[in-house]
Amino acid sequence: MGNTSSMLTQYDIEEVQEYCNHTFSQQEIVSLYQRFCQLDRNGGGFISSDEFLSLPEFAVNPLSQRLLRMLDGLNFKEFVAFLSAFSSCASLQQKIEFIFKVYDSDCNGKVTFNDVLEVLRDLTGSFISEQQRQQVLTHVLEEAGYTNDSSFVLADFIKILGNSGLKMEVEVPVD
């Protein structure tokens, strides 16, 4: 029983705020903490893949497996940092950085043709054939002045997505 929010002291909250570059207000962090405890059913201090997948709305997402790899074993501080890209206070750069990280599965700072193809595979499943998928990607890349061999760094992503009116905001319910 007890009040979960009482377990976070002002210091804890400030520390978490510091860690996520003040993208969330103190109240939002308290809410997120309650949510974190709710999802972490066995109280291990992190949310397991199984616990994430028990949310149907998350489980049906085509990118859920990919995101699970990023979410694996995050403690509360890291969990908040993960979500900070979705805060309305986060800069466009932060948001694009997050998208870049989703693509860059081996974390080497480069996104190759294959990385993009893999995400596209997650998103389209069996509804586009592998061959067709490659054709689509090659076509689009060439039109934008790249080739199959070119790899993207973060700066490229910022250039490409920077002025596309990216909307990536999630509101944290505060009571």
Binding site: L55, P56, V60, N61, L120, L123, S164, M168
Partner: protein, 371 residues
């Protein structure tokens, strides 16, 4: 009439059909040429995923709401302590006594009736029915149930089925004390299971195991047989298939709406003023839940017997189920969510993910052709 479509629907009578309820996809449709940035921009899917992590409508359905703590105030604290003493020291023992007397009265008359009165089936049934109602009244008294019934009481006639929203097993007790319903329920372990298989069987209740697919077919058949009989107790179904916290309703299973008979909706709304009546079966056993109710001041609730509904021409069972859910949720003032309650026990079908993939794939291909 009910037999007409029975053979085809028998197998998937209780199949979750969440596909029908898919919320509109967040992936927008454009009629522009496909560009690299459109392919790279995966923000809609990411936003959806993060949104679900932060807050999702499914978990909200099964969240028990602890009462707001108000006793931290030094002036109110003695008063609260006094209440505690009254509830646990006076009310609780009295209620245990009431329940014990109830059981003694019930068992001492039920056992002889059940085992000795052979032959006179009609009268035996009537007495048993009455006794079960009586026992339920004792149960309701044991949590000082203040129940207000609105609308005409259900009558006994064939070809009708009652459906209600489901918050706790006490729903059944509250409804049963007024009318002897035959209920379709999950088979429970422990003493509840014992009651189910001995006493409640005599009012025609039907048990099944949620996880066993074979049970579903048997239940479907029993259902159809049951409603054909004239002097059977009216059938009561909780089409949500699981307890929801009385703030939301999850999708109704279409089984009850495919029987080809009149559906009478019942809306139940608990007042949370003294106790949260939601039985969170994951967190507490039914015994603990009952103890919780028995140590509270009272269980206050409203029951509405609503206008009977029939399948409209051209309406599918799912649309019908949804219409009845509308009626119940409006009356009880609870919110609807598009999820299947069984997702508590299983993962959503990959078909849902595939649907999203299909929509995205089609939009990519379409836009590729635009010049």
């Amino acid at each position: 009439m009910g037999e007409l479509n029975s053979s085809s629907s028998e197998i998937d009578l209780d199949r979750p059909n969440i596909e029908e309820y898919l919320p509109p996809d967040s992936i927008k449709e454009f009629h522009e040429k496909l560009r690299l940035r459109d392919l790279l921009d995966i923000s809609p899917a990411l936003t959806e995923a993060a949104g679900a992590i932060v807050d999702d409508s499914f978990t909200r359905c099964f969240k028990s709401n602890p009462p707001e703590p108000w006793n931290w105030n030094i002036y109110l604290f003695p008063l609260w302590c006094f209440g505690l003493v009254v509830r646990y020291g006076i009310l609780f023992p009295v209620r245990v006594l009431v329940l014990t007397i109830g059981w003694i009265v019930f068992l001492s008359s039920f056992i002889p009736v059940h085992f000795l009165m052979n032959g006179k089936d009609e009268r035996k049934k009537k007495i048993e029915r009455y006794l079960v109602e009586l026992m339920c009244s004792f149960f309701v008294a044991s949590w000082t149930g203040v129940v207000k019934y609105h609308g005409p009481r259900p009558s006994m006639r064939p070809k009708q089925v009652f459906v209600a929203n489901h918050t706790s097993m006490i729903d059944f007790i509250i409804l049963e004390q007024m009318t002897p319903f035959a209920v379709i329920m999950q088979k429970h372990p422990g003493w509840v299971g014992l009651l189910q298989s001995t006493i409640l069987e005599s009012v025609g209740c039907i048990w099944f195991n949620r996880s066993e697919a074979k049970d579903r077919e048997i239940v479907a058949k029993k259902l159809r047989d049951h409603i054909q009989e004239v002097d059977n107790n009216p059938l009561l179904i909780f089409p949500e298939g699981t307890c929801v916290n009385n703030h939301y309703t999850v999708m109704f299973k279409k089984g009850a709406f495919e029987l080809g008979c009149t559906v009478c909706p019942i809306a139940i709304k608990y007042n949370r003023i003294f106790v949260d009546a939601f039985w969170n079966s994951r967190k507490q056993s039914f015994t603990m839940h009952l103890l919780c109710l028995m140590t509270s001041w009272a269980v206050v609730c409203d029951v509405w017997y609503l206008e009977p509904q029939n399948l409209r021409p051209g309406e599918t069972a799912i649309e019908f189920a949804e219409r009845v859910r509308d009626i119940i949720s409006v009356r009880a003032g609870i919110r609807k969510v598009p999820w299947d309650g069984y997702l508590k026990y299983s993962r959503p079908s990959p078909k849902l993910t595939e649907r999203k993939q299909q929509i995205f794939a089609e939009s990519v291909l379409r836009r590729l052709e635009e010049k």
